[in-house]
Symmetry: C2
Subunit: 445 residues, 2 copies
């Protein structure tokens, strides 16, 4: 049992608000600060990628007792729907019942803040935290960076303030703080597929839709209101790039040529394209994550990743699961809680960063590749027959709670095996024979 | 020919003051700011590693017409003196005349500021630059970070303010700015070997002295006054570590056991050890280095490296050489000057960072390894016979002005070749025979 602490959480995003629920349940006083207005009172920004909630996310929500309320705003997706030319291929994610869930970031965030408030957390919006006195776990809050600040002291401070965290910013200025931020040359833009007049979805609603085109790709995830949130991922510069799509005509020509089956379903293509910002994608890593049992980073604030594995929020929620176990185990020994937390999570955060980075290639290129799809089929047959010998990488990441670092290591080993299998002569003919099965079994030895 | 610009240089270190000389020669107005007091008026800090000036450094100094004045304060080192047990091995750096030069950082910095002032640059000490308006190339200067600031506008701003650059700090906060800082678990501490009573050196003066001990090592570089500046590199934590050397007795016992031949020459061992700080070692990378033809980073501010190749200052000076060529080529087109500068230097900065990182192992472990020394001998014989076919990596980095990135790539190829050569049966017996020579020639094909 812990003594009640006065705790500040900086950031009222998904991780900040779920953490608030956990900390309230543990008996603490919780203040959540956000520099932005209350998301429940404003329109969303048009720069969001829909979330894909999977096992790790649900576990954290269920352990907090709020999973069922979130399921009400989630749409199960059981498969990828791969749009190539005028063909549509489906690829199931895993076993029967292995779904990921589409949730609008804004809808979820509003709900999470409601739930955290109901649990007793107090929210302070439009309060800008500019600096943190780490040794004193004291926030410096003010209107502007150069203006007057008010100092508010807490027992603990959590930085749940995202990839550009101010809390981390202060930690970065210490000696021995390792840090990296790396931007992709690919950016993204939100587009929209509205609902039909009767409120139904224009595309299959239980699919994660992908238009893989190599250097760029379009994805679409369903919303409750019958619409889809689409995201176009594309290089900033070059032949097929945001830079090259300068005007309405260029955008429309491009979609007609390369994404013809989207023309009918994205009616306000050019409007969306030029109204919505082009956003960047960054991988951010750092260490340490905590300071002296007083201050801790969590979620994107200490491990921002690119979105291509759909694990950003899930990884942040899993931080909370791990932290909660340690809080239950170590009582008032916050030094141990924070030290064990960062040691246990860091290798897994690095692993999911690497897997997410790699997955852009898989989604944008390989899902359009016959040989890759064959490989997936072979893996699926084998894993169904020998589930204890072979959990496909995607399933281990998405439908299990085994550590990401383990998934990365085993995934690399599986890849080496499948590379050998795919080099078997006539693999296209013999893929479902005993020869292939025996080969895999031999290589697994 | 360029039109005269009003230029601010932030940082009066080695790179800042040499850059000031170049910019004055090009006809610009030059103001150099430093947050510290004038180094000519204070004692040095006791946390410096002596510099090893080599080809790239001399080239930049000679092109500016100040090389001969610096040679007066430099001591040539023609070889490594490797202290193992009570044995002393010498290993020449390159061909006859291939010397590196020991210079005290403080002595050199004072001289460089004198030379820059003589060239007409104006220095402003104890002026703290807290922020830079990048688009307006305007410095924000004040007593404290949170106090009142004075804005001073320039045409161009150079950030030569080192690994923890404030100018870069502002650039870091832009989108699409890639950045990493990574600290080694090894730190360093300055120690001192004083001169003999008659002003002579206690150890061979034309050697770079190394006591390689695996995880840790001691080095000593000669000064003009007969003393040596020593640097102890050692892990922060663990068995043989700064943490483990808690008191006078622990330090003295450690040196007596592991570095016995230094006992007589470092009389104030414990005093130095506890008075001088333990400093950290960081590799810092970033990109871009410039902003809009207005602001540019240079030297450690954009590529801080660990000191194990002796190339930190040399690489910074080579930045200036490259920049100067581009200023002469592109006149008033500062956008092109800055863009070409960062594009040309970035891969070379990354390469010397990698080489420097790798060289810790070579210096601390391999220089004590018989097989490594044999390999160096084989390389030396071969490169003397076929100088056009084989320039050893160290020589290419230290005694040439070929790009660092080329040195890294060719060095990797040479390493693969030498790995094969060293696996020849009986290599210890046949190392100077035609068999080995022919093997290398064959592998080079």
């Amino acid at each position: 049992m812990q003594h009640s602490q006065k705790i500040a959480i900086v950031g009222s995003g998904l991780v900040g608000s779920l953490l608030a629920i956990y900390l309230k349940k543990a008996g603490h006083q919780v203040h959540v600060y956000d520099r932005s207005p209350d998301i429940r009172k404003i329109q969303f920004s048009g720069r969001s990628i829909n979330l894909a909630m999977s096992n790790r996310g649900w576990k954290a929500l269920d352990d907090a007792g709020v999973g069922d309320q979130i399921r009400e705003i989630a749409i199960p997706m059981e498969k990828r729907a791969i749009h190539i030319g005028d063909k549509l291929n489906y690829q199931h994610y895993g076993k029967e019942g292995d779904n990921i869930y589409s949730i609008s970031r804004g809808v979820l965030n509003r709900k999470m803040i409601d739930l955290a408030e109901a649990a007793g957390a107090e929210f302070f919006f439009e309060k800008k935290v500019w600096d943190v006195d780490l040794a004193e776990s004291t926030l410096q809050i003010g209107e502007t960076e150069r203006g007057a600040w008010e100092a508010i002291k807490y027992d603990k401070v959590f930085g749940a303030d995202g990839a550009f965290s101010r809390v981390r910013h202060r930690m970065q200025r210490q000696s021995m703080f390792n840090y990296s931020q790396e931007f992709l040359n690919t950016g993204y833009k939100e587009l929209n597929i509205p609902a039909n007049a009767d409120g139904t979805h224009k595309l299959d609603k239980n699919s994660f839709h992908i238009w893989p085109r190599g250097e760029y790709m379009l994805i679409a995830l369903p919303n409750l209101d019958g619409s889809f949130t689409c995201t176009l991922f594309m290089p900033f510069e070059g032949e097929n790039s945001f830079e090259s799509l300068k005007d309405r005509k260029a955008v429309e020509d491009f979609f007609e040529k390369n994404l013809p089956d989207t023309i009918d379903v994205i009616p306000k293509l050019a409007e969306d394209f030029f109204e919505n910002p082009t956003s960047t994608l960054v991988t951010m890593k750092c260490f340490p994550w905590t300071y002296n049992g007083k201050v801790a980073l969590i979620g994107d604030a200490c491990h921002a990743i690119v979105p291509f594995y759909g694990q950003g929020m899930n990884a942040g929620f899993e931080d909370i699961t791990v932290l909660n176990v340690l809080m239950e185990r170590h009582g008032d020994d916050w030094n141990t809680i924070f030290t064990d937390y960062e040691k246990s999570r860091k290798p897994n955060a690095d692993a999911i960063a690497e897997l997410s980075y790699r997955n852009f290639m898989e989604m944008s290129t390989k899902t359009a590749d016959e040989k890759f799809l064959l490989q997936k089929k072979i893996e699926k047959i084998f894993s169904e027959k020998y589930p204890e010998k072979w959990i496909p990488l995607y399933s281990r990441v998405t439908f299990s709670d085994r550590p990401y670092a383990e998934a990365l290591a085993i995934g690399d080993r599986q890849k080496a095996i499948m590379d050998e299998v795919m080099m078997l002569p006539d693999i296209e003919q013999i893929w479902d024979t005993e020869t292939v099965e025996k080969k895999i079994l031999a290589l697994l030895k």
